[in-house]
Amino acid sequence: MSVGPDNKAVMGAGQAIEEVFRRAGAQVLATLIRLLGDFDLAEEARQEAFAAALEQWPVQGVPANPSAWLIHIGRNKAVDRIRRDKLFRTKVLDLETAAVDAEGGTRPEDALDDTIDAMFADDRLRLIFICCHPALTHEAQVALTLRAVCGLTTQAVARAFLVTEETIAQRLVRAKKKIRDAGIPFETPFETSGGPMLDERIEGVLAVIYSVFTEGYAATAGSALIDTELCSEAIRLGRLLDGLLPNQPAVLGLLALMLLHDARRAARVSAAGDLILLEDQDRTLWDPVEIAEGLALVERSLSLRGRVSVYAVQAAIAALHVRALQKEDTDWPQIMGLYEVLLRLQPTPIVELNHAVAVSMVDGPARALDLLDSLTARGQVEQYHLLHSARGRLLQRLGRSDEALGAYRAALNYATLEPERRFLSARIAILEESRPEGG
């Protein structure tokens, strides 16, 4: 690299190229996987194409369709290498056939054709479905999606999930080995004959996106409550999926849900990093643009034919919360009704807990406490800190301070996130202070 007056311009070009790589990376990888038939081979080919671009683009300029250029170069480099290796004789034959099929699609001069954009979109969708394939563990699906579809580095994925880079690297190697050994196809479930798993496969992709979002929005461990990068990546994935699979109620529902939660991000944590409950949040801090988009998406999701999506119901609940300009305006009876719908679709302890909280706002804390006690009696929720915390609040409202104190202490015992622990400690301190002497 030259030193002197041109240095700044070169740096600028380098940054522009990095940006193109980031935006086009998933597309290039996706199409190369289809052309080369192998994940690792495609990753290597993409790396070589990036290296070629770093040499040529500063001189020749960035091509009109950078993705098509990178795919073209990447495929040629891979074919050259396989020819050199000779070990893969049969693979070369396949590749030459594939190269002829794809020629129109990857020659830079043809790159602006609409049909190519459609083909590229199919490859992106195939990449999402292979990364979220149910024959991979959920952890592997999440890591592979963040790495291959979002383009996060292994280091960034490791940081997000508070595990070592080594762990993530191994997870990725194992996932790609499983894809190769087990014969997981680079196909969307629409292409698979029979395709009885279509809804399940879409649900699987949504589960990956939602766990990326929830890990960002309510990290399960560590000192920070919100990891903004993960939230943004999840929303970006949701938008991408909605673009590729339009008018799917569940996809629209999840995107709406994430936007309506994300809209409240700034109000959810104090300057000191403490958790602020929905009812205590400064509603002027909520993001009106995200709220408007989220509300429109809930409407669309619920108006479409087909199965009601659990994400859409949750988004509808979030919508009722954000529609209330003051907490007193919250439509609790309707929220309670929606939780009843959700309980039928997804009878989990967390839904039962949230339903009980809604009941407490409509019928009072005593009935809600009965519901929580019945949930507790069925077992398996002892270590669930939010349950104890909710019980504490109900008991406090009923004036049963000693029992409330016990519940908060149980919650503190199981809570792992620092801001949540501070929040619970503060509640305990207030109750301890207000206790009569010797009581």
């Binding site: 024959a135 087990a182 014969g183 997981i184 004959s193 009885p196």
Partner: protein, 117 residues
């Protein structure tokens, strides 16, 4: 009567690729296979890919689930097998989901090594 011989071994303790021990083991297998073919007792036999390539198909409440890994329930016993030729894992698991036993048991889908050429 036909008998199925199931070969169990700790994958971690098996001889690694490229070692003399593996060459010797493969030779033993070839000799054994030839022997039972000659004796008229051979019907079929394959080497399976490692357990890390396994997936399990189950149907519960009418819903098909596919999970990573072999069957996990220790109270389930091997009761039968099908050897199928499928285009890819999705086709193989779709067929596995049609096995009646998927409704109450687990169908492990394990790829078979292609014959050595």
């Amino acid at each position: 009567m036909n008998y199925l011989l199931l070969i169990y071994a700790n994958e971690a303790e098996e001889p690694a690729m490229g070692t003399a021990a593996l060459t010797s083991l493969m030779a033993d297998y070839t000799e054994f296979t030839k022997g039972i073919i000659k004796g008229g007792q051979f019907k079929a036999g394959d080497r399976l890919k490692p357990v890390s390539s396994a997936s399990t198909v189950r149907i519960r409440n009418g819903k098909v689930t596919i999970t990573d890994g072999p069957f996990a329930e220790t109270r389930e016993q091997l009761g039968g097998y099908y050897l199928i030729d499928a285009k890819n894992l999705d086709e193989a698991t779709a067929i596995a989901a049609r096995v009646p036993g998927a409704k109450y048991g687990s169908i492990e889908v394990r790829p078979v090594w292609p014959p050595q050429g």
